[in-house]
Symmetry: C2
Subunit: 206 residues, 2 copies
C-alpha cells in the first residue's frame, strides 16, 4: 500500500469523489469485492490512492458508499402494488424490476448482488432488507386481501432473485437478451400463482 | 505465510488429504473463496500449512480439488427425465434437486454456488457447464416432444437457481425450512409451465 504523506487537506477537483465512486462501482460490479484493490480503483479513476483514503477512509467504507442502493426496494414494490392492486401484479412487478436493473444503476445493482451472494455478512444485510423492509411493505398493502404473505414473498423472491442470477450475473441466453415485456409475460404468471396458490400447509407451525 | 522447512517427503496420516479437503469445503462454503487463507484451512484441519502445499500446491488448486462437483448435473437431469418423461417433471426435478442439495454434499455445492456467482471466471465455468452439458442432455431426451428447449431451459434455470440463492445462500424463511415435498409441490408447476407455455415470440431471431 502506498503511504503518501498526509500534508493537510487536499483540494482535488470537485468531481474527484464522484469519479472514485464510479470507478469503484465499475470494478466491484465486474469482479466482486475481494479482488479489487484500492490501488486499482485509484488507477481506474485517474487519481492518487491517497485521495481515496482522504475521501472514504477504508475499502469497506468505500464499498458501502459505492453500493448505496440507488433506490429503496420497498418504495419500488409499494409503487407497483398501489398502481393496481393484485390485478396482473406479477407482470407489473417484473416490468418495473427489469426497468430498474436495465437502467442507469445496473452496474451498481449487479455489484451489490455479487457481493451479497458471495459474503455471508453482505448476505445478512440483504436478508434483513428483504425481510424487514420489503415483506413488511407488502403486508401493509396487501395484508387484508392475501393470506400468509411471508410464505408467498419467499417464493416470489426465489423467482425474482433467480432472474437476477441468470440474466444479470450468469448472462444465460436468451434470458439476457429478452426485453422487459417478454420477461413480464413469461415470469409474471409465476408470481401471480405464488400470490394465489394454497399455502396453508407451508406455514411454519401449521 | 509460514515458511516451514521442506525436509523431504512428509508422511502424514493417510486421511490428512481428506481432512484438508473437508476443512477447505467448510470454510469456502461459509465465507466464499477470497477471505479464506491457506493458514486458516490448515488450522481448521489441524495440520501444518506446509502440508497443504505438499498435497495441493496453490490455493487455486486446493479450491478446484475441494469443489469438484460430487455429481454430474447432466446425469442427474437425465435420470429425472428418463424416469417418467414430461409427466409432472417439474415436481420430480425439484424433488431430486433438493435431495442432492440437502444431502451430504451440501456444503460443497454451496461453496461452488457462492464462488460461481461472485467471480466472473467461475460464472463462466458454470454457464459453460449449463449451456453445453445440461441443456444438451435435455435436448437429446425431450427434443422430439418439446420445442425451443433452450429458451425453456433458461426460464427453468431462473427458478431453480433462485431456489439455490434464497434457500441455501440467503436462507430466507420459511423457504429454508420447507422439505423437498413441499418445495416440489410449490415450484414444480412453475417448471411444468415453462416446459409447455408458448415461447415462439421469445426465440432469438424469430
Amino acid at each position: 500500500m502506498a503511504r503518501a504523506k498526509r500534508s493537510g487537506r487536499r483540494s482535488g477537483k470537485p468531481d474527484t469523489r464522484a469519479e472514485i465512486l464510479a470507478a469503484a462501482r465499475t470494478l466491484f460490479a465486474a469482479e466482486g469485492y475481494e479482488p479489487v484493490s484500492m490501488r486499482r480503483i485509484a488507477a481506474e479513476a485517474g487519481v492518487d490512492p491517497s485521495l481515496i483514503h482522504h475521501y472514504f477512509g477504508s475499502k469497506d467504507d468505500l464499498f458501502l458508499a459505492a453500493v448505496e442502493l440507488p433506490m429503496d426496494p420497498a418504495s419500488e414494490v409499494e409503487a407497483v402494488l398501489r398502481g393496481g392492486g393484485t390485478e396482473e401484479v406479477g407482470e407489473r412487478l417484473v416490468r418495473a424490476f427489469v426497468a430498474v436493473w436495465d437502467g442507469p444503476h445496473s452496474a451498481r445493482l449487479i455489484a451489490v448482488a455479487r457481493t451479497s451472494l458471495s459474503r455471508p455478512a453482505s448476505s445478512f444485510i440483504l436478508k434483513q432488507t428483504f425481510e424487514h423492509r420489503v415483506v413488511k411493505t407488502v403486508e401493509e398493502i396487501l395484508g387484508d386481501q392475501v393470506d400468509h404473505l411471508r410464505v408467498r414473498a419467499g417464493f416470489i423472491a426465489s423467482q425474482v432473485f433467480g432472474l437476477v442470477v441468470t440474466r444479470y450475473i450468469l448472462k444465460f441466453e436468451p434470458l439476457a437478451s429478452l426485453d422487459a415485456e417478454q420477461l413480464a409475460q413469461a415470469l409474471g404468471p409465476t408470481i401471480d400463482r405464488y400470490l394465489t396458490m394454497p399455502v396453508e400447509h407451508l406455514v411454519p407451525g401449521a
